[in-house]
Protein backbone atom coordinates (compact mmCIF):
# COMPACT_ATOMS: atom_id res chain seq x y z
CA UNK A 1 0.00 0.00 0.00
CA UNK A 2 1.57 3.22 -1.15
CA UNK A 3 1.31 6.18 1.14
CA UNK A 4 2.96 8.71 -1.12
CA UNK A 5 -0.27 10.66 -1.68
CA UNK A 6 -0.91 11.15 1.98
CA UNK A 7 -3.33 8.28 2.61
CA UNK A 8 -1.82 7.34 5.92
CA UNK A 9 -3.65 5.24 8.44
CA UNK A 10 -5.20 7.51 11.06
CA UNK A 11 -3.83 7.73 14.53
CA UNK A 12 -5.84 6.98 17.60
CA UNK A 13 -6.53 10.27 19.41
CA UNK A 14 -4.45 10.61 22.58
CA UNK A 15 -7.46 11.36 24.80
CA UNK A 16 -10.08 8.63 24.60
CA UNK A 17 -12.25 9.83 27.46
CA UNK A 18 -15.87 10.81 26.85
CA UNK A 19 -16.28 14.31 25.39
CA UNK A 20 -17.53 17.17 27.54
CA UNK A 21 -20.85 17.18 25.66
CA UNK A 22 -21.85 13.98 27.50
CA UNK A 23 -22.24 16.00 30.72
CA UNK A 24 -24.62 18.34 28.86
CA UNK A 25 -26.78 15.39 27.77
CA UNK A 26 -26.96 14.26 31.38
CA UNK A 27 -28.24 17.66 32.48
CA UNK A 28 -30.78 17.75 29.68
CA UNK A 29 -31.98 14.23 30.47
CA UNK A 30 -32.34 15.11 34.14
CA UNK A 31 -34.37 18.18 33.19
CA UNK A 32 -36.67 16.06 31.00
CA UNK A 33 -37.06 13.56 33.85
CA UNK A 34 -37.91 16.34 36.30
CA UNK A 35 -40.46 18.01 34.00
CA UNK A 36 -42.27 14.76 33.30
CA UNK A 37 -42.17 13.70 36.94
CA UNK A 38 -43.84 17.01 37.86
CA UNK A 39 -46.43 16.52 35.12
CA UNK A 40 -47.13 13.01 36.41
CA UNK A 41 -47.51 14.32 39.96
CA UNK A 42 -49.80 17.13 38.78
CA UNK A 43 -51.91 14.67 36.81
CA UNK A 44 -52.12 12.41 39.87
CA UNK A 45 -53.22 15.14 42.29
CA UNK A 46 -55.37 17.29 39.99
CA UNK A 47 -57.52 14.46 38.65
CA UNK A 48 -58.04 12.16 41.61
CA UNK A 49 -60.07 9.07 40.82
CA UNK A 50 -60.25 5.43 41.87
CA UNK A 51 -57.81 4.54 39.16
CA UNK A 52 -55.22 7.31 39.64
CA UNK A 53 -52.70 5.12 41.41
CA UNK A 54 -53.38 2.21 39.06
CA UNK A 55 -52.53 4.34 36.05
CA UNK A 56 -49.31 5.57 37.65
CA UNK A 57 -48.32 1.96 38.25
CA UNK A 58 -49.25 0.92 34.71
CA UNK A 59 -47.17 3.79 33.34
CA UNK A 60 -44.39 2.72 35.68
CA UNK A 61 -44.54 -0.84 34.34
CA UNK A 62 -44.28 0.53 30.80
CA UNK A 63 -41.28 2.66 31.82
CA UNK A 64 -39.69 -0.36 33.48
CA UNK A 65 -40.10 -2.49 30.35
CA UNK A 66 -38.57 0.24 28.14
CA UNK A 67 -35.57 0.93 30.42
CA UNK A 68 -35.14 -2.80 30.99
CA UNK A 69 -34.94 -3.35 27.22
CA UNK A 70 -32.19 -0.72 26.93
CA UNK A 71 -30.12 -2.17 29.80
CA UNK A 72 -30.50 -5.91 29.24
CA UNK A 73 -30.86 -5.53 25.45
CA UNK A 74 -27.57 -3.63 25.58
CA UNK A 75 -26.02 -6.59 27.40
CA UNK A 76 -27.38 -8.99 24.77
CA UNK A 77 -26.03 -6.91 21.85
CA UNK A 78 -22.69 -6.68 23.65
CA UNK A 79 -22.60 -10.47 23.81
CA UNK A 80 -23.65 -10.78 20.17
CA UNK A 81 -20.80 -8.56 19.00
CA UNK A 82 -18.30 -10.49 21.16
CA UNK A 83 -19.48 -13.77 19.64
CA UNK A 84 -19.75 -12.60 16.03
CA UNK A 85 -16.68 -10.33 15.99
CA UNK A 86 -16.38 -7.74 13.25
CA UNK A 87 -15.37 -4.13 12.89
CA UNK A 88 -18.95 -2.88 13.28
CA UNK A 89 -19.02 -3.82 16.95
CA UNK A 90 -15.88 -2.11 18.22
CA UNK A 91 -17.08 1.48 18.48
CA UNK A 92 -20.47 0.60 19.94
CA UNK A 93 -18.89 -1.61 22.61
CA UNK A 94 -18.35 1.06 25.26
CA UNK A 95 -21.81 2.60 24.80
CA UNK A 96 -23.31 -0.91 25.10
CA UNK A 97 -21.32 -1.53 28.26
CA UNK A 98 -22.54 1.77 29.70
CA UNK A 99 -26.12 0.78 28.86
CA UNK A 100 -25.68 -2.62 30.52
CA UNK A 101 -24.25 -1.04 33.70
CA UNK A 102 -27.59 0.72 34.29
CA UNK A 103 -29.03 -2.59 35.56
CA UNK A 104 -29.01 -1.46 39.25
CA UNK A 105 -31.31 1.44 38.31
CA UNK A 106 -33.60 -0.94 36.43
CA UNK A 107 -33.70 -3.18 39.50
CA UNK A 108 -34.81 -0.19 41.60
CA UNK A 109 -37.51 0.47 39.00
CA UNK A 110 -38.60 -3.17 39.32
CA UNK A 111 -39.15 -2.96 43.09
CA UNK A 112 -42.35 -0.83 43.00
CA UNK A 113 -43.83 -3.27 40.46
CA UNK A 114 -42.98 -6.22 42.69
CA UNK A 115 -44.29 -4.45 45.81
CA UNK A 116 -47.55 -3.38 44.13
CA UNK A 117 -47.96 -6.70 42.35
CA UNK A 118 -51.52 -7.04 43.69
CA UNK A 119 -52.63 -3.77 42.15
CA UNK A 120 -51.22 -4.54 38.73
CA UNK A 121 -51.76 -8.25 38.20
CA UNK A 122 -55.18 -9.87 38.27
CA UNK A 123 -53.75 -13.28 39.25
CA UNK A 124 -52.08 -11.71 42.31
CA UNK A 125 -55.17 -9.75 43.36
CA UNK A 126 -57.46 -12.83 43.31
CA UNK A 127 -56.48 -15.07 46.19
CA UNK A 128 -59.49 -17.36 45.83
CA UNK A 129 -60.67 -17.78 42.22
CA UNK A 130 -63.79 -19.74 43.23
CA UNK A 131 -65.09 -16.98 45.48
CA UNK A 132 -64.20 -14.26 43.00
CA UNK A 133 -66.11 -16.15 40.31
CA UNK A 134 -69.22 -16.37 42.47
CA UNK A 135 -68.90 -12.72 43.40
CA UNK A 136 -68.82 -11.87 39.68
CA UNK A 137 -65.40 -10.17 39.79
CA UNK A 138 -63.91 -12.50 37.19
CA UNK A 139 -65.36 -14.82 34.58
CA UNK A 140 -65.11 -18.62 34.45
CA UNK A 141 -62.19 -18.62 31.98
CA UNK A 142 -60.20 -16.29 34.22
CA UNK A 143 -61.04 -18.30 37.33
CA UNK A 144 -59.91 -21.50 35.66
CA UNK A 145 -56.68 -19.95 34.31
CA UNK A 146 -55.76 -18.36 37.65
CA UNK A 147 -56.35 -21.59 39.60
CA UNK A 148 -54.60 -23.74 36.99
CA UNK A 149 -51.53 -21.46 36.70
CA UNK A 150 -51.23 -20.86 40.44
CA UNK A 151 -48.08 -23.04 40.83
CA UNK A 152 -46.29 -20.60 38.50
CA UNK A 153 -48.19 -17.35 38.91
CA UNK A 154 -47.93 -16.67 42.64
CA UNK A 155 -46.47 -13.69 44.47
CA UNK A 156 -43.55 -15.58 46.04
CA UNK A 157 -42.62 -17.04 42.67
CA UNK A 158 -42.84 -13.58 41.06
CA UNK A 159 -40.37 -12.16 43.60
CA UNK A 160 -37.96 -15.11 43.57
CA UNK A 161 -37.83 -15.34 39.79
CA UNK A 162 -37.51 -11.56 39.42
CA UNK A 163 -34.56 -11.41 41.82
CA UNK A 164 -32.98 -14.47 40.19
CA UNK A 165 -33.22 -12.87 36.72
CA UNK A 166 -31.56 -9.69 37.95
CA UNK A 167 -28.85 -11.69 39.74
CA UNK A 168 -28.07 -13.68 36.58
CA UNK A 169 -27.99 -10.62 34.28
CA UNK A 170 -26.04 -8.68 36.90
CA UNK A 171 -23.38 -11.41 37.08
CA UNK A 172 -22.86 -11.42 33.31
CA UNK A 173 -22.81 -7.62 33.14
CA UNK A 174 -20.31 -7.43 36.00
CA UNK A 175 -17.91 -9.94 34.42
CA UNK A 176 -18.19 -8.48 30.90
CA UNK A 177 -17.47 -4.97 32.17
CA UNK A 178 -14.66 -6.05 34.48
CA UNK A 179 -12.87 -8.01 31.76
CA UNK A 180 -13.30 -5.15 29.32
CA UNK A 181 -11.46 -2.80 31.66
CA UNK A 182 -8.72 -5.35 32.32
CA UNK A 183 -8.31 -5.91 28.59
CA UNK A 184 -7.61 -2.22 27.93
CA UNK A 185 -4.49 -2.19 30.09
CA UNK A 186 -3.40 -5.78 29.62
CA UNK A 187 0.02 -6.26 28.07
CA UNK A 188 0.70 -9.85 29.10
CA UNK A 189 -1.90 -11.71 27.10
CA UNK A 190 -2.51 -11.41 23.40
CA UNK A 191 -5.70 -10.32 21.71
CA UNK A 192 -6.77 -13.87 21.06
CA UNK A 193 -6.70 -14.76 24.74
CA UNK A 194 -9.28 -12.04 25.45
CA UNK A 195 -11.28 -12.72 22.35
CA UNK A 196 -11.71 -16.38 23.31
CA UNK A 197 -12.60 -15.50 26.90
CA UNK A 198 -15.29 -13.07 25.81
CA UNK A 199 -16.57 -15.50 23.19
CA UNK A 200 -16.94 -18.35 25.65
CA UNK A 201 -18.70 -16.23 28.25
CA UNK A 202 -21.00 -14.57 25.70
CA UNK A 203 -21.96 -17.81 23.97
CA UNK A 204 -23.26 -19.31 27.19
CA UNK A 205 -24.60 -15.89 28.23
CA UNK A 206 -26.78 -15.53 25.13
CA UNK A 207 -28.40 -18.90 25.76
CA UNK A 208 -29.09 -18.06 29.40
CA UNK A 209 -30.27 -14.58 28.38
CA UNK A 210 -32.85 -15.97 25.98
CA UNK A 211 -34.25 -18.30 28.65
CA UNK A 212 -34.34 -15.71 31.44
CA UNK A 213 -35.76 -13.05 29.12
CA UNK A 214 -38.58 -15.40 28.09
CA UNK A 215 -39.34 -15.92 31.78
CA UNK A 216 -39.25 -12.20 32.55
CA UNK A 217 -41.50 -11.32 29.61
CA UNK A 218 -44.06 -13.89 30.75
CA UNK A 219 -43.91 -12.76 34.39
CA UNK A 220 -43.98 -9.03 33.86
CA UNK A 221 -46.10 -8.48 30.74
CA UNK A 222 -47.83 -11.59 29.41
CA UNK A 223 -49.25 -12.56 32.82
CA UNK A 224 -51.17 -9.26 32.97
CA UNK A 225 -53.77 -11.30 31.11
CA UNK A 226 -53.62 -14.67 32.93
CA UNK A 227 -55.83 -16.42 30.38
CA UNK A 228 -53.70 -15.87 27.32
CA UNK A 229 -50.51 -17.53 26.12
CA UNK A 230 -48.35 -17.54 23.03
CA UNK A 231 -45.24 -19.67 22.62
CA UNK A 232 -43.44 -17.10 20.47
CA UNK A 233 -43.92 -14.31 23.03
CA UNK A 234 -40.43 -14.58 24.54
CA UNK A 235 -38.76 -14.45 21.14
CA UNK A 236 -40.91 -11.51 20.10
CA UNK A 237 -39.83 -9.72 23.25
CA UNK A 238 -36.19 -10.63 22.64
CA UNK A 239 -36.21 -9.23 19.11
CA UNK A 240 -38.03 -6.10 20.28
CA UNK A 241 -35.36 -5.67 22.94
CA UNK A 242 -32.59 -5.95 20.36
CA UNK A 243 -34.50 -3.46 18.19
CA UNK A 244 -34.72 -0.91 21.02
CA UNK A 245 -31.15 -1.38 22.27
CA UNK A 246 -29.71 -1.13 18.75
CA UNK A 247 -31.60 2.09 17.98
CA UNK A 248 -30.46 3.52 21.31
CA UNK A 249 -26.79 2.57 20.91
CA UNK A 250 -26.69 3.99 17.37
CA UNK A 251 -28.11 7.27 18.66
CA UNK A 252 -25.48 7.37 21.43
CA UNK A 253 -22.65 6.56 19.03
CA UNK A 254 -23.81 9.11 16.45
CA UNK A 255 -24.03 11.75 19.19
CA UNK A 256 -20.56 10.81 20.46
CA UNK A 257 -19.17 11.07 16.94
CA UNK A 258 -19.84 14.82 16.92
CA UNK A 259 -16.71 15.28 19.05
CA UNK A 260 -13.30 13.73 19.51
CA UNK A 261 -12.25 10.99 20.00
CA UNK A 262 -14.96 9.32 17.92
CA UNK A 263 -15.16 12.17 15.41
CA UNK A 264 -11.99 11.11 13.63
CA UNK A 265 -12.37 7.33 13.89
CA UNK A 266 -16.09 6.63 13.38
CA UNK A 267 -16.26 5.80 9.69
CA UNK A 268 -19.20 5.76 7.29
CA UNK A 269 -18.45 2.08 6.59
CA UNK A 270 -19.30 1.05 10.15
CA UNK A 271 -22.28 3.40 10.27
CA UNK A 272 -23.60 1.78 7.10
CA UNK A 273 -23.17 -1.66 8.70
CA UNK A 274 -25.13 -0.56 11.77
CA UNK A 275 -27.87 0.80 9.50
CA UNK A 276 -28.07 -2.58 7.76
CA UNK A 277 -28.32 -4.32 11.13
CA UNK A 278 -31.23 -2.00 12.02
CA UNK A 279 -32.91 -3.03 8.80
CA UNK A 280 -32.47 -6.69 9.73
CA UNK A 281 -34.06 -6.10 13.14
CA UNK A 282 -36.96 -4.19 11.55
CA UNK A 283 -37.62 -7.15 9.26
CA UNK A 284 -37.17 -9.81 11.96
CA UNK A 285 -39.50 -7.96 14.30
CA UNK A 286 -42.39 -7.71 11.84
CA UNK A 287 -41.73 -11.29 10.73
CA UNK A 288 -42.22 -12.69 14.22
CA UNK A 289 -45.03 -10.29 15.18
CA UNK A 290 -46.91 -11.15 12.01
CA UNK A 291 -46.28 -14.92 12.46
CA UNK A 292 -47.91 -14.77 15.87
CA UNK A 293 -50.86 -12.82 14.47
CA UNK A 294 -51.26 -15.10 11.45
CA UNK A 295 -51.21 -18.27 13.56
CA UNK A 296 -53.73 -16.97 16.08
CA UNK A 297 -55.91 -15.46 13.34
CA UNK A 298 -55.87 -18.76 11.40
CA UNK A 299 -56.66 -20.82 14.48
CA UNK A 300 -59.44 -18.42 15.51
CA UNK A 301 -59.74 -20.16 18.88
CA UNK A 302 -61.78 -18.34 21.53
CA UNK A 303 -59.06 -18.58 24.22
CA UNK A 304 -56.43 -17.00 21.95
CA UNK A 305 -58.22 -14.61 19.62
CA UNK A 306 -59.64 -12.51 22.46
CA UNK A 307 -56.18 -11.09 23.19
CA UNK A 308 -56.07 -9.60 19.71
CA UNK A 309 -59.72 -8.50 19.83
CA UNK A 310 -58.95 -6.53 23.01
CA UNK A 311 -56.15 -4.82 21.08
CA UNK A 312 -57.80 -4.16 17.72
CA UNK A 313 -61.44 -3.33 18.36
CA UNK A 314 -62.93 -0.34 20.12
CA UNK A 315 -60.50 2.35 19.02
CA UNK A 316 -57.36 0.26 19.53
CA UNK A 317 -57.18 -0.15 15.76
CA UNK A 318 -55.73 3.36 15.53
CA UNK A 319 -53.02 2.50 18.05
CA UNK A 320 -52.00 -0.70 16.28
CA UNK A 321 -52.15 1.16 12.95
CA UNK A 322 -49.70 3.77 14.23
CA UNK A 323 -47.62 1.01 15.81
CA UNK A 324 -47.38 -0.76 12.46
CA UNK A 325 -46.44 2.45 10.66
CA UNK A 326 -43.71 3.43 13.13
CA UNK A 327 -42.46 -0.06 13.86
CA UNK A 328 -42.16 -1.34 10.35
CA UNK A 329 -43.50 0.76 7.48
CA UNK A 330 -41.47 3.94 8.11
CA UNK A 331 -38.15 2.42 9.21
CA UNK A 332 -38.37 -0.26 6.53
CA UNK A 333 -38.98 2.11 3.63
CA UNK A 334 -36.42 4.63 4.92
CA UNK A 335 -33.70 2.07 5.61
CA UNK A 336 -34.03 0.65 2.09
CA UNK A 337 -32.07 3.71 0.97
CA UNK A 338 -28.29 3.50 1.05
CA UNK A 339 -27.96 7.28 1.41
CA UNK A 340 -30.11 7.41 4.56
CA UNK A 341 -28.01 4.71 6.21
CA UNK A 342 -24.83 6.64 5.42
CA UNK A 343 -26.07 10.07 6.55
CA UNK A 344 -25.67 10.73 10.27
CA UNK A 345 -28.67 13.02 10.75
CA UNK A 346 -31.01 10.84 8.74
CA UNK A 347 -29.95 7.60 10.40
CA UNK A 348 -30.44 9.30 13.78
CA UNK A 349 -33.95 10.31 12.70
CA UNK A 350 -34.76 6.71 11.77
CA UNK A 351 -33.46 5.55 15.17
CA UNK A 352 -35.76 8.07 16.87
CA UNK A 353 -38.70 6.66 14.91
CA UNK A 354 -37.70 3.16 16.04
CA UNK A 355 -37.48 4.22 19.69
CA UNK A 356 -40.87 5.94 19.49
CA UNK A 357 -42.25 2.72 18.02
CA UNK A 358 -40.96 0.76 21.00
CA UNK A 359 -42.80 3.10 23.40
CA UNK A 360 -45.99 2.79 21.37
CA UNK A 361 -45.71 -0.99 21.12
CA UNK A 362 -45.06 -1.41 24.85
CA UNK A 363 -48.15 0.72 25.50
CA UNK A 364 -50.16 -1.45 23.11
CA UNK A 365 -48.96 -4.61 24.88
CA UNK A 366 -49.64 -3.37 28.41
CA UNK A 367 -52.63 -1.01 28.41
CA UNK A 368 -55.37 -3.20 26.85
CA UNK A 369 -54.92 -5.84 29.57
CA UNK A 370 -57.02 -3.83 31.98
CA UNK A 371 -60.77 -4.15 32.08
CA UNK A 372 -61.49 -0.42 32.21
CA UNK A 373 -59.97 0.25 28.82
CA UNK A 374 -59.86 -2.91 26.70
CA UNK A 375 -62.30 -2.91 23.76
CA UNK A 376 -62.76 0.76 24.56
CA UNK A 377 -59.84 3.05 23.87
CA UNK A 378 -60.80 6.46 25.18
CA UNK A 379 -58.98 9.50 26.36
CA UNK A 380 -58.85 10.30 30.04
CA UNK A 381 -56.55 12.41 32.19
CA UNK A 382 -55.15 9.23 33.75
CA UNK A 383 -54.17 7.89 30.34
CA UNK A 384 -51.52 10.62 30.12
CA UNK A 385 -49.58 8.74 32.81
CA UNK A 386 -48.57 6.35 30.03
CA UNK A 387 -46.61 9.32 28.61
CA UNK A 388 -45.48 11.14 31.75
CA UNK A 389 -44.21 8.26 33.88
CA UNK A 390 -42.24 6.38 31.16
CA UNK A 391 -40.79 9.67 29.87
CA UNK A 392 -39.59 10.61 33.35
CA UNK A 393 -38.12 7.15 33.91
CA UNK A 394 -36.39 7.16 30.51
CA UNK A 395 -34.95 10.60 31.25
CA UNK A 396 -33.55 9.29 34.50
CA UNK A 397 -32.22 6.22 32.74
CA UNK A 398 -30.45 8.33 30.08
CA UNK A 399 -28.90 10.49 32.80
CA UNK A 400 -27.58 7.43 34.62
CA UNK A 401 -26.35 5.90 31.35
CA UNK A 402 -24.37 9.07 30.49
CA UNK A 403 -22.91 8.96 34.00
CA UNK A 404 -21.74 5.40 33.29
CA UNK A 405 -20.47 6.42 29.84
CA UNK A 406 -18.15 8.98 31.43
CA UNK A 407 -16.55 6.39 33.70
CA UNK A 408 -14.41 4.83 30.98
CA UNK A 409 -12.63 5.67 27.72
CA UNK A 410 -15.22 5.59 24.91
CA UNK A 411 -13.02 3.42 22.69
CA UNK A 412 -12.01 -0.11 23.68
CA UNK A 413 -8.35 -0.66 22.81
CA UNK A 414 -6.25 -3.83 22.68
CA UNK A 415 -8.53 -5.26 20.04
CA UNK A 416 -7.50 -6.57 16.61
CA UNK A 417 -10.30 -4.59 14.95
CA UNK A 418 -8.83 -1.31 16.16
CA UNK A 419 -6.18 -1.15 13.43
CA UNK A 420 -8.84 -1.98 10.85
CA UNK A 421 -11.08 0.94 11.73
CA UNK A 422 -8.09 3.30 11.69
CA UNK A 423 -7.45 2.56 8.02
CA UNK A 424 -8.72 5.02 5.43
CA UNK A 425 -12.03 3.89 4.01
CA UNK A 426 -10.85 3.01 0.51
CA UNK A 427 -7.94 0.82 1.55
CA UNK A 428 -9.64 -2.56 1.65
CA UNK A 429 -6.75 -3.99 -0.38
Amino acid sequence: MSNEHGHHAKHLPADLSAPASVARWRNRALLVALVFALLAAADFYLHPSDLSLDYVLRGWLMGLIVCFSFAVGGMALLMVQHVSGGKWGLLIRRPLEAMSRTLPLVFLMFLPVAICVKRLYLWARISNPEEALHAGIINAIQAHAIAYKRPFLNIEGFWIRGIAYFAIWGTFIFILNRWSRQRDTDTQHGNWYWQKRFENLSGAGLLIYSITLTGASIDWVMSLDPTWYSSVYGLLFLVAQGYAALAMVILITLALSQDEPLKSIFRTTEQHDLGKLCFAFVMLNIYIAFSQYLIIWSGNLPEEIRWYMDRITGGWGYVIGLDFAFHWLLPFTLLLSRDIKRNKRRLAAVCCIMLFARFLDTFWLIAPNFADIHHNFHFSAELLQYIFVPAAMTGLWVAYMTHQLRQRPVVAINDPHLSEILEPEHAHA
Partner: protein, 183 residues
Protein backbone atom coordinates in the same frame (compact mmCIF):
# COMPACT_ATOMS: atom_id res chain seq x y z
CA UNK B 1 -20.08 -4.76 -39.30
CA UNK B 2 -18.62 -1.47 -40.59
CA UNK B 3 -15.18 -0.48 -39.32
CA UNK B 4 -15.35 2.22 -36.65
CA UNK B 5 -13.16 5.29 -36.93
CA UNK B 6 -10.51 6.13 -34.35
CA UNK B 7 -9.82 4.41 -31.08
CA UNK B 8 -12.01 3.13 -28.23
CA UNK B 9 -10.12 5.07 -25.59
CA UNK B 10 -6.98 5.47 -23.51
CA UNK B 11 -6.23 3.05 -20.72
CA UNK B 12 -3.90 3.86 -17.83
CA UNK B 13 -2.38 1.12 -15.72
CA UNK B 14 -1.76 1.59 -11.99
CA UNK B 15 -0.06 -0.57 -9.39
CA UNK B 16 -2.28 0.28 -6.43
CA UNK B 17 -5.99 0.86 -5.84
CA UNK B 18 -5.25 4.19 -4.15
CA UNK B 19 -3.62 5.64 -7.27
CA UNK B 20 -6.48 4.40 -9.42
CA UNK B 21 -9.12 5.96 -7.17
CA UNK B 22 -7.24 9.27 -7.11
CA UNK B 23 -6.94 9.40 -10.88
CA UNK B 24 -10.58 8.38 -11.34
CA UNK B 25 -11.78 11.06 -8.91
CA UNK B 26 -9.70 13.72 -10.67
CA UNK B 27 -11.02 12.63 -14.07
CA UNK B 28 -14.61 12.81 -12.84
CA UNK B 29 -13.96 16.21 -11.27
CA UNK B 30 -12.52 17.61 -14.50
CA UNK B 31 -15.62 16.60 -16.43
CA UNK B 32 -15.02 13.13 -17.89
CA UNK B 33 -18.09 10.90 -17.74
CA UNK B 34 -17.56 8.09 -20.26
CA UNK B 35 -14.94 6.11 -18.38
CA UNK B 36 -14.58 2.93 -16.39
CA UNK B 37 -12.33 1.37 -13.77
CA UNK B 38 -11.13 -2.22 -14.07
CA UNK B 39 -9.84 -3.95 -10.94
CA UNK B 40 -8.99 -7.56 -10.05
CA UNK B 41 -11.46 -7.52 -7.15
CA UNK B 42 -14.50 -5.37 -6.25
CA UNK B 43 -13.40 -1.88 -5.24
CA UNK B 44 -16.35 0.13 -3.96
CA UNK B 45 -14.40 3.37 -3.85
CA UNK B 46 -13.57 3.13 -7.55
CA UNK B 47 -17.29 2.92 -8.33
CA UNK B 48 -17.95 5.94 -6.13
CA UNK B 49 -15.09 7.87 -7.74
CA UNK B 50 -16.64 7.67 -11.21
CA UNK B 51 -20.05 8.80 -10.02
CA UNK B 52 -21.81 5.57 -9.09
CA UNK B 53 -23.56 7.47 -6.29
CA UNK B 54 -25.06 10.05 -8.65
CA UNK B 55 -28.84 9.82 -8.94
CA UNK B 56 -28.61 8.99 -12.65
CA UNK B 57 -26.56 5.88 -11.87
CA UNK B 58 -29.06 4.19 -9.56
CA UNK B 59 -30.58 1.99 -12.22
CA UNK B 60 -30.15 -1.30 -10.37
CA UNK B 61 -31.74 0.06 -7.18
CA UNK B 62 -34.77 1.29 -9.16
CA UNK B 63 -35.15 -1.93 -11.11
CA UNK B 64 -34.92 -3.92 -7.86
CA UNK B 65 -37.58 -1.78 -6.15
CA UNK B 66 -39.85 -1.95 -9.18
CA UNK B 67 -39.40 -5.73 -9.44
CA UNK B 68 -40.25 -6.17 -5.76
CA UNK B 69 -43.37 -4.04 -6.02
CA UNK B 70 -44.54 -5.86 -9.16
CA UNK B 71 -43.91 -9.27 -7.54
CA UNK B 72 -45.77 -8.39 -4.35
CA UNK B 73 -48.75 -6.82 -6.14
CA UNK B 74 -48.94 -9.67 -8.67
CA UNK B 75 -49.12 -12.39 -6.03
CA UNK B 76 -51.53 -10.46 -3.81
CA UNK B 77 -53.81 -9.82 -6.81
CA UNK B 78 -53.62 -13.44 -7.91
CA UNK B 79 -54.60 -14.68 -4.44
CA UNK B 80 -57.41 -12.16 -4.20
CA UNK B 81 -58.72 -13.11 -7.64
CA UNK B 82 -58.59 -16.83 -6.87
CA UNK B 83 -60.30 -16.47 -3.49
CA UNK B 84 -62.94 -13.89 -4.38
CA UNK B 85 -63.91 -14.55 -8.01
CA UNK B 86 -62.45 -17.76 -9.38
CA UNK B 87 -63.02 -20.20 -6.50
CA UNK B 88 -65.05 -18.49 -3.77
CA UNK B 89 -64.92 -21.09 -0.98
CA UNK B 90 -66.19 -20.70 2.53
CA UNK B 91 -63.23 -21.64 4.73
CA UNK B 92 -64.15 -21.78 8.42
CA UNK B 93 -66.59 -18.91 7.95
CA UNK B 94 -63.88 -16.39 7.12
CA UNK B 95 -64.45 -13.59 4.63
CA UNK B 96 -63.45 -14.39 1.06
CA UNK B 97 -60.95 -11.56 1.12
CA UNK B 98 -58.84 -12.87 4.02
CA UNK B 99 -55.79 -10.70 3.50
CA UNK B 100 -53.64 -11.97 6.41
CA UNK B 101 -53.39 -15.33 4.68
CA UNK B 102 -52.28 -13.65 1.44
CA UNK B 103 -49.33 -11.81 2.99
CA UNK B 104 -46.86 -14.69 3.16
CA UNK B 105 -46.90 -15.72 -0.53
CA UNK B 106 -47.02 -12.03 -1.57
CA UNK B 107 -43.96 -11.40 0.60
CA UNK B 108 -42.12 -14.36 -0.91
CA UNK B 109 -42.86 -13.10 -4.41
CA UNK B 110 -41.64 -9.63 -3.45
CA UNK B 111 -38.30 -11.12 -2.41
CA UNK B 112 -38.10 -13.41 -5.44
CA UNK B 113 -38.88 -10.69 -7.98
CA UNK B 114 -36.67 -8.11 -6.26
CA UNK B 115 -33.76 -10.56 -6.20
CA UNK B 116 -34.16 -11.69 -9.79
CA UNK B 117 -34.65 -8.18 -11.13
CA UNK B 118 -31.60 -6.94 -9.22
CA UNK B 119 -29.45 -9.72 -10.68
CA UNK B 120 -30.75 -9.55 -14.26
CA UNK B 121 -31.09 -5.77 -14.15
CA UNK B 122 -27.44 -5.51 -13.15
CA UNK B 123 -26.42 -7.79 -16.03
CA UNK B 124 -28.56 -5.87 -18.52
CA UNK B 125 -27.31 -2.43 -17.42
CA UNK B 126 -23.72 -3.67 -17.63
CA UNK B 127 -24.52 -5.02 -21.12
CA UNK B 128 -23.49 -8.47 -20.00
CA UNK B 129 -22.85 -11.08 -21.21
CA UNK B 130 -20.46 -9.32 -23.61
CA UNK B 131 -18.63 -11.70 -25.95
CA UNK B 132 -16.40 -8.86 -27.15
CA UNK B 133 -15.03 -5.81 -25.36
CA UNK B 134 -12.39 -3.50 -26.87
CA UNK B 135 -10.29 -3.13 -23.67
CA UNK B 136 -8.97 -6.65 -24.19
CA UNK B 137 -7.14 -5.28 -27.24
CA UNK B 138 -4.64 -3.67 -24.82
CA UNK B 139 -2.00 -6.36 -24.18
CA UNK B 140 -1.16 -5.17 -20.66
CA UNK B 141 -4.88 -5.32 -19.75
CA UNK B 142 -5.08 -8.99 -20.72
CA UNK B 143 -2.11 -9.78 -18.49
CA UNK B 144 -2.88 -7.68 -15.43
CA UNK B 145 -6.60 -6.93 -15.05
CA UNK B 146 -7.45 -10.19 -13.31
CA UNK B 147 -4.31 -10.45 -11.20
CA UNK B 148 -2.66 -7.38 -9.70
CA UNK B 149 -3.16 -4.27 -11.87
CA UNK B 150 -5.69 -1.44 -11.68
CA UNK B 151 -6.91 0.25 -14.87
CA UNK B 152 -8.69 3.47 -15.71
CA UNK B 153 -10.05 3.77 -19.23
CA UNK B 154 -11.16 7.15 -20.60
CA UNK B 155 -13.42 6.44 -23.54
CA UNK B 156 -13.19 8.30 -26.86
CA UNK B 157 -16.98 8.66 -26.90
CA UNK B 158 -16.70 11.28 -24.14
CA UNK B 159 -17.11 14.81 -25.57
CA UNK B 160 -14.17 15.99 -23.48
CA UNK B 161 -11.89 13.30 -24.91
CA UNK B 162 -8.91 14.23 -27.04
CA UNK B 163 -6.06 11.82 -27.67
CA UNK B 164 -3.28 14.24 -26.80
CA UNK B 165 -4.91 16.11 -23.88
CA UNK B 166 -6.40 13.03 -22.27
CA UNK B 167 -3.06 11.25 -22.53
CA UNK B 168 -1.33 14.18 -20.82
CA UNK B 169 -4.02 14.21 -18.16
CA UNK B 170 -3.61 10.51 -17.40
CA UNK B 171 0.18 10.74 -17.42
CA UNK B 172 0.05 13.44 -14.75
CA UNK B 173 -0.92 10.67 -12.28
CA UNK B 174 2.31 8.79 -13.05
CA UNK B 175 0.70 5.53 -14.18
CA UNK B 176 2.80 2.51 -15.20
CA UNK B 177 1.67 3.10 -18.79
CA UNK B 178 -0.99 4.77 -20.91
CA UNK B 179 -2.06 2.71 -23.93
CA UNK B 180 -4.40 3.48 -26.82
CA UNK B 181 -7.18 0.92 -27.08
CA UNK B 182 -8.40 -0.08 -30.55
CA UNK B 183 -12.01 -0.81 -31.30
Amino acid sequence: MPMREGIYGLIAEFDTPTELVQAAKAAYASGYRRMDCYTPYPLEEAAEAIGFDEPTEKGVARICLLGGLIGGCAMFSLESWVSIWAYPLNIAGRPLFSWPAFIVPAYEWTILFAGLSAAYGMLALNRLPAPYHPVFNAPNFRDGATTDKFFLCLEAADPKFSVSESRAFLESFRPVSVVEVDH
